[in-house]
């Protein structure tokens, strides 16, 4: 297997507060990987560093040989909150922006995903509920033909039924060689998808294991994840 993503000795501070320290991570192509950790553990920061939107970090990021930020951005698709658009922007205008700006954006793919998510292109962003907005973000993210998808807590506002449908379909939306790094609190719901699990704790990557190994030694991936916080709960 080829290394798709290499994170080497990455450390990051903000306001003199340590967020990540000596993070090392290697992901192969074609995998679906969960990035798990409690709130404030640094999952989002790690994704933002990989995506090239967080600055002033130490260490190296490499996505298939691309180390410069602009080159990395071309190879990945990150769930963006669409804050760059005004609330009066229509979905079709957001799609036009993506189609113009990203060479790998597939409008036909988006149209299929949009229908799957039941989104009306004439709707304005202000008319979307939190769940609908998240569905739009997922549809936009997967309409790009990227090597690496970074999904930062993508299902928070989506109702349970729709969430299940989306999670079951994710595997169909990515190319065979593409890798997905997904951070989420709904560990059980995404566990069936996972090839690997990465645990972020104490400002660093504490564990990186294959999902099959975890399933052999633990009841479930959720139980494995919770075991990292068992001592803290006892206290």
């Amino acid at each position: 297997m080829n290394d798709l993503l290499t994170v080497k000795d990455v450390s990051y501070k903000k306001n003199q507060k340590l967020v990540l320290q000596n993070v090392n991570l290697k992901l192969n192509s074609g995998k679906i990987v969960a990035l798990l950790g409690e709130n404030g553990a640094g999952k989002t920061t790690l994704m933002r560093i990989i995506a090239g939107v967080a600055k002033n970090y130490k260490g190296e990021i490499n996505i298939e040989g691309a180390t410069k930020e602009a080159e990395r951005k071309a190879k990945l698709s990150f769930t963006d909150g669409l804050t760059g658009f005004s609330d009066s922007t229509k979905i079709k205008e957001v799609v036009k922006f993506y189609a113009t700006i990203f060479e790998d954006f597939d409008e036909n793919e988006f149209d299929e995903l949009r229908q799957f998510m039941k989104l009306d292109p004439e709707m304005k962003l202000s008319q979307l509920s939190r769940g609908m907005r998240e569905k739009l973000i997922i549809a936009l993210t997967f309409s790009r033909k990227a090597d690496l998808y970074l999904l930062d807590e993508p299902f928070g506002g989506i109702d349970a039924m729709a969430r299940k449908k989306i999670i079951n379909s994710i595997i169909l939306w990515k190319d065979e060689k593409a890798t997905i790094l997904i951070s989420d609190h709904f560990v059980n719901e995404i566990s069936s998808l996972l090839d690997e699990v990465v645990i972020v704790k104490d400002h660093t990557v504490l564990e990186h294991k294959s999902a099959d190994d975890i399933r052999q030694t633990h009841k479930s991936i959720e139980e494995y994840y919770e075991s990292f916080y068992a001592d803290e709960d006892d206290e």
Partner: protein, 276 residues
């Protein structure tokens, strides 16, 4: 990778929305002022050329007054857009949606400044075209044509040179404004993200005030140094009057380049996109 042209076109489209909105408001305000002027005025409109007066068609006079109102309100509209475009620039600099675009920070910043400046010129063009078009019916009046014919304008080579020099100077000064606003914003954001204590509103305000004072002081000194050094260097002009013009243009060019390089450095190394 996204090309510079694609990004530039996209940013231009985005910013020109504000241009059209401001232009429409300006045209509507000018129309209202013109109607008020006509309603409150009495008698038939007249064209005055020295001691001669002649009556003018009401519609032609209405359009001419509208053109004058457009000219007057253009100073306010241009100032408003100047401020709006500066704010928009800084929002884009910090927007994750825009910063995820696969281009280098240099291209990103140049496109942001360039489109702000070009849309500003676009607003000026829209205003100028409207004023000219609404003044055109005045040419149907014989007295107006006669008055224009009497006004002889002869531009010498020196006049053209001065006009070109002024135009360049306006471009460099306009660009300097956007570059300085970004410098203030990016520098204060870098410091806020570096210092302990997070980014509370009070803290942010204090830092911004300190940075503004510090940068104005530094820029004052830098401008004095740049201008005194380049003031002695005038390789391509002969006349002493031209020397002053050419060196001033050169000084502003160097100033713009230096500020832009600092902005690029700050954006590239320190200023992150705002988290969603």
């Amino acid at each position: 990778m996204t090309s510079f042209n694609t990004l530039f076109n996209r940013m231009f489209q985005e910013k020109s929305k504000s241009v059209y909105l401001i232009f429409l408001i300006q045209a509507f305000a000018s129309l209202c002022f013109t109607i008020i002027g006509f309603v409150s005025g009495n008698g038939t409109p007249e064209f005055v050329n020295g001691k001669d007066t002649s009556s003018v068609n009401v519609i032609v006079a209405f359009l001419a007054v509208f053109a004058v109102m457009m000219l007057i309100t253009s100073f306010i509209a241009d100032f408003v857009y100047w401020i709006i475009s500066s704010i928009k620039n800084e929002k884009i600099n910090r927007s994750q949606t825009w910063r995820l675009i696969p281009v280098t920070d240099t291209k990103f910043l140049l496109s942001n400044f360039g489109t702000a400046f070009l849309t500003y010129i676009w607003l000026g063009i829209l205003e100028a075209v409207t004023i000219i078009v609404t003044l055109l019916p005045m040419l149907s009046d014989q007295d107006v044509r006669k008055a224009i014919g009497q006004a002889s304008i002869h531009l010498s080579a020196r006049d053209w040179q001065t006009m070109l020099g002024s135009l360049l100077l306006i471009i460099f000064i306009g660009y300097a404004w956007y570059a300085i606003v970004s410098l203030l914003n990016l520098a204060s954001r870098s410091i806020i993200d570096f210092l302990p204590g997070g980014s509370s509103k009070v803290w942010t305000f204090i830092i911004r005030v300190i940075v503004i004072i510090a940068i104005i002081w530094i820029l004052g000194h830098a401008v004095t140094i740049i201008f005194s050094v380049l003031g002695k260097f005038s390789p391509f002009m002969v006349n002493s009057q031209d020397i002053n013009y050419a060196t001033t243009i050169l000084q502003f060019l160097v100033f713009d380049v230096v500020i832009t390089l600092i902005d690029i450095l700050l954006l590239n190394k320190f200023v992150e996109a705002k988290q969603n």
